[in-house]
């Protein structure tokens, strides 16, 4: 019988939640790396027992850990992230130039085919790659040296590269997103990049449809349709049908189109999920009701999913990397909250139950479906 393993990064450690395919009884492993901010934990699609974890904190900086046994044991690997060449400057909040300075790894994206190859999205925004299981890291510097790099500015959470999508059909194509620069794509394995933000409109910009400067919160793709991308922007839920060449809004009847997460059903490429958040200043669900919204039409027409979720006095947030899906026949959907709950649905969102209620604030959720 299949199993699922949910990898949870929190403000004070990592947790590994496991269940059989029924997804009713769970065992909770952890905390691993107690006391560290765990921005992300993710497994290799090519070897599910190979996991990578990003640990950081304000005192002791960045550490990367690797597991070869599905999270039972861990060992530190390389934590040297050095920008390629003279780092140059980006814009600071006050518009002045500021040198690039490494702060932390937000997102780890293992290769689809090689367990030893893994990408890291970092703050200040850059993409790094390791081809030796995380022992050494080199910058994929074509992105940061893209012509607009000197004009990038941090969002409120820092200038972070937080989203990396690898195209299963084209190993040369990678999508990334940066807050607050926007989305970018390479078609040559990372040598050159260009912004893919046409159609995005951000009222916080002097030129709302600028080529760069957009605060993209998260993007998602179904592996069977790599040209179709979904995006939760600071405000607006967006869709592209041409690999980001142009975007159009699909917020439709959502109660608010602000939010952080977005994900796609494992077997239905037109079924997508978001968690609407009231506003950019009120990072909690509207009306104190925690509701996942599902569209079965690829956007525009949304239904509220509430069964099993708190429908009063709920004021948590769901951060950008804190939703994931499994690939069991009845697709499971998972998300974690800043209040420390991890919710799971074993029926594509129709009903929900907490796996665990009282973890530290959840930063990220990933799911592995295991044989």
């Amino acid at each position: 019988m299949s199993k699922v393993r949910v990898l949870v990064g929190t403000r004070k450690g990592a947790f590994v939640l496991t269940s059989d395919g029924g997804r009713k009884q769970w065992s909770i492993g952890g905390p691993h790396f107690a006391g560290w901010d765990i921005y992300h934990v993710k497994g290799s699609p090519a070897d599910p027992n190979r996991l990578y974890a990003s640990l950081s904190n304000g005192w002791f900086g960045q550490v990367i850990q690797r597991s070869n046994d599905g999270g039972t044991s861990w060992n530190p690997v390389g934590n040297q992230f050095v920008y390629d060449g003279v780092p140059g400057t980006h814009q600071w909040y006050d518009g002045t130039p500021r040198p690039w300075e490494f702060k932390r790894v937000w997102h780890l994206e293992p290769s689809l085919t090689d367990p030893d190859t893994v990408y890291a999205g970092v703050e200040d925004a850059a993409l790094f790659r390791s081809s030796d299981g995380g022992e050494t890291w080199g910058e994929v510097s074509g992105l940061r040296k893209h012509g607009s790099g000197s004009s990038w500015q941090p969002g409120a959470g820092g200038m972070c590269l937080h989203n990396i999508i690898l195209d299963a059909g084209d190993p040369q194509r990678i999508f990334i997103a940066i807050s607050a620069a926007g989305a970018f794509r390479t078609d040559d394995g990372g040598a050159s990049w260009r912004p893919i933000n046409r159609g995005l409109k951000s009222v916080g910009l002097p030129k709302p449809d600028a080529e760069v400067g957009h605060c993209v919160h998260h993007m998602a793709m179904h592996p069977s349709r790599p040209a179709v991308l979904f995006m939760q922007k600071h405000w607006d839920v967006m869709r592209s049908d041409d690999a980001g060449e142009a975007w159009h809004e699909v917020s439709g009847n959502l109660p608010t189109d602000f939010g952080f997460v977005i994900d796609v059903h494992a077997h239905e490429p037109e079924t997508i999920y978001v968690v609407p958040i009231k506003s950019d200043s009120e990072h909690f669900p509207p009306d104190g009701k925690l509701r996942v919204y599902r569209s079965r039409t690829g956007g525009n027409e949304w239904e509220a999913l509430t069964r099993g979720l708190p429908q009063e006095d709920c004021y948590v947030n769901v951060l950008r990397d804190a939703m994931a899906v499994d690939s069991l026949e009845d697709c499971g959907v998972y998300f974690g909250t800043t209040g420390g709950q991890v919710y799971a649905s074993a029926d594509a969102g129709d009903s929900w139950a907490p796996i665990v209620r009282d973890l530290p604030g959840v930063l990220s959720v990933e799911v592995q479906t295991l044989p």
Binding site: G35, N57, W59, N79, V82
Partner: protein, 98 residues
């Protein structure tokens, strides 16, 4: 023999429970002690001193013998009591963060 007390975050990384004891060749200074520490526990590289500059990270402090040695030059001799192992060298996470 030098005795080093690490904060909990770094004890976890180094997988040690109590204090660390090290032999340091030559004069005991912040640099020689930390070089020896990172030699024994490579996982601590970059966590106490910035990898690029070699300087103490902003929210890390060094205490010994009731004194804050954080601003002493890295090649200044540590107190005799540290060099002889009578007193430990403390690596401390400053009271900051959460």
């Amino acid at each position: 023999m030098i005795r080093i007390l690490l904060p909990a975050h770094l004890r976890m990384l180094a997988q040690v429970d109590g204090e660390v004891q090290l032999e340091v060749e030559g004069r005991a200074t912040q640099r020689s002690v930390l070089d020896a520490l990172e030699g024994r526990f490579p996982t601590l590289g970059g966590t106490i001193r910035d990898r690029g500059t070699g300087r103490r990270r902003a929210f890390v402090r060094f205490f010994a013998c009731g004194e804050d040695l954080s601003h002493e030059p890295p090649d200044a001799p540590l107190p005799d009591a540290v060099a002889t192992g009578a007193e430990p060298f403390l690596v401390v996470g400053a009271m900051a963060g959460g």
